[in-house]
Assembly symmetry: C2
Homo-oligomer: 368 residues x 2
């Protein structure tokens, strides 16, 4: 186990700007800070309340309420505003962007924003969609772990420079997520099927029990499961499906054909049984969580002060307690100290190690 000497300037980005500091933007900002991926993280938001909260929670280093010349120093800009605000935000920021800056977004529909960025002449733009979320939104619930092991789709266009794509990939991997690359149209067709159509179907089902007390009283269990997505933020959901309406209409046609076939099979019970069996097989083979796509990682990030033999102190404390370190990586070293990532065997080991190291005076971050 040899620790490579960290370069004095191994931080991938200098100034990172997160525009829109909500659940996802805040989680990106926290990931950038905790994983030492940027020297400085600036939060840009039109809401002063959000900015104050982001600052109070230590989500960002600095806050800004509007675009301006200050943006030129950014070498990473992440657009994390809600869908409907993405294009206007891109137009606000574009005049001030450093041409060398990597620009990405986290919207859930990709063709539109990619086209808008091309119109604006933002060359180093790579559209992205981290497939992560939470029941509760807002910067308050942001956490770096939200993105860890999440699938993060990147959708470069025909004119996206390869260097921009590889930087975006490194960013996603640096945040602990799994990049999956595909064209914008393919992404949009995919989310139409697995996300926007289910939302519409759920909404249609929900409307069928509206204004019928008896129905809604008896509707529980399975029905609640099926209509959970109808319980999300109505405006965000509406914006998503409207933005992706072309792909969604195509998915709706296929859905209707499936329903027609199942209805016809009500008169052919043997065929319907085969359909039901195939449905169960498919459903049961869906991954339990996106995370299961990836080999499980049980990471603990430890902040170390700039003092001699800190890595030795960490590894000895854990070794003495019988915690097996499977992997170790120096994330970055800065003047005020650095951080190391420990790969452990289980969530229990992560919890134990966090306790041991906190007890020994270290600061631990992230999933511990």
């Amino acid at each position: 186990m040899t620790i490579p000497p960290a370069a004095p300037d191994s931080t991938p980005f200098g100034t990172a700007v997160v525009a829109g500091v909500g659940l996802i933007g805040g989680s990106v900002a926290l990931g950038l800070r905790q994983r030492l991926l940027a020297k400085k993280v600036v939060g840009l938001d039109s809401s002063m309340d959000v900015l104050r909260e982001a600052e109070a929670l230590g989500v960002v280093d600095e806050v800004r309420a509007s675009a301006g010349e200050w943006l030129r120093e950014a070498d990473l800009v992440v657009l994390a505003a809600p869908m409907r605000a993405l294009a206007p935000l891109a137009r606000d920021l574009a005049p001030f962007l450093n041409p060398g800056a990597l620009v990405t977004d986290v919207g859930s529909v990709k063709a539109g924003i990619a086209a808008e960025m091309e119109r604006l002449g933002v060359r180093n733009f790579v559209a992205g969609h981290p497939m992560a979320g939470s029941e509760r939104g807002g910067v308050t619930h942001a956490r770096a772990a939200l993105l860890e092991n999440a699938v993060w789709v990147l959708t470069p266009g025909d004119h996206t420079p390869l260097t921009a794509l590889s930087r975006a990939r490194a960013l996603v991997e640096g945040l602990g997520a799994a990049p999956v690359v595909m064209p914008p149209d393919a992404h949009d067709a995919l989310v139409a099927t697995i996300s926007h159509l289910p939302y519409l179907a759920s909404l249609a089902l929900t409307h069928m029990v509206a204004r019928d007390e008896r129905l809604s009283l008896l509707a529980a269990g399975g029905f609640r499961d099926l209509t959970r997505v109808a319980s999300g933020d109505p405006r965000m959901s509406r914006d998503m499906v409207v933005e992706n309406r072309a792909a969604l209409r195509e998915a709706l046609s296929r859905f209707r054909r499936q329903l027609d076939r199942l209805e016809a099979d009500l008169d052919d019970p043997e065929e319907l049984l085969l359909c039901a069996q195939e449905g169960k097989r498919t459903r049961d083979s869906l991954p339990v969580v996106r995370r299961s796509l990836l080999p499980q990682r049980h990471d603990l990030v430890v902040a170390v002060p700039d003092k001699p033999n800190q890595i030795g102190a960490v590894t000895q404390a854990l070794g003495a307690a019988g915690v097996n370190i499977k992997d170790i990586e120096v994330l970055a070293i800065r003047e005020d100290g650095g951080a190391i990532r420990l790969g452990l065997e289980s969530p229990e080991d992560v919890a134990r190690a966090a306790g041991i190291l906190t007890g020994a005076g270290f600061e631990v971050r992230g999933r511990g």
Copy 2:
């Protein structure tokens, strides 16, 4: 607090027969026994394995592998076989039924079995549907608590004697469930909307990601919620929807109209937002579990030996520990003892009381 002297023969039923000892049948049998609703519970099942297990688990007092003259002693017969086996089972049993016996079933579609029973001339039949279930089926997972506080729909026909209905109601209440009475057709239309249509929609969605590795890999979270019902037993699900196909077709037509309207609203974002908001309101107002329909009950059933002052011993033990008894009911007294139901303030009190009484040598049952 006065305890009414229990009649020497206060048990509502003498011999109860549960035909089909699976999850629901087994739970009914356990409820009948634990709540002292029948003097003897006989399990009838075509599977010797099931009967052996039911006997080993103490779910029934006696087992029978086929219908016969022995059925004449039953004053309660509960048909709890799977949907497709219900009508044949009814035909098997009908010749041996005591005309005075209350007969009921637990199937999830009601018009067909009601008509079959009328054809068979079973006068005291009241069709029923306990809206309870579990991810795991079979007698192994049966428990009386499954039915407690569940909505249990009773669907008397035009010719059902009122006395039969009131006995069925008393049975359902005795098992701790909440009877809801409606005509068979109304029930079937209702479950088509809240259960069978969602199943079909879920199956259609599942088929859309089948044979596409990329889709099924990325389909998680919301999509899994929406397709959970497609993961049920394919044969049971198939049987349900085929049995209820007339009502289901009607529900499908209404579902298609809802989808058409939502699709049209993709071009009318303001209208779609109203739909999304109404959907969220409706979804959020659905009861979390059926149980919430009813005032919460925190019951503990205590078996008491036939000795003096047992009620005093129970209440003093709890009083000394500060457990507040809100309600008390003598369920039944038999030669070998009896049972009392205690209504307590909270699940925590139930757990505490169970511990205290077990420690004092009492046997507690049910939800404690």
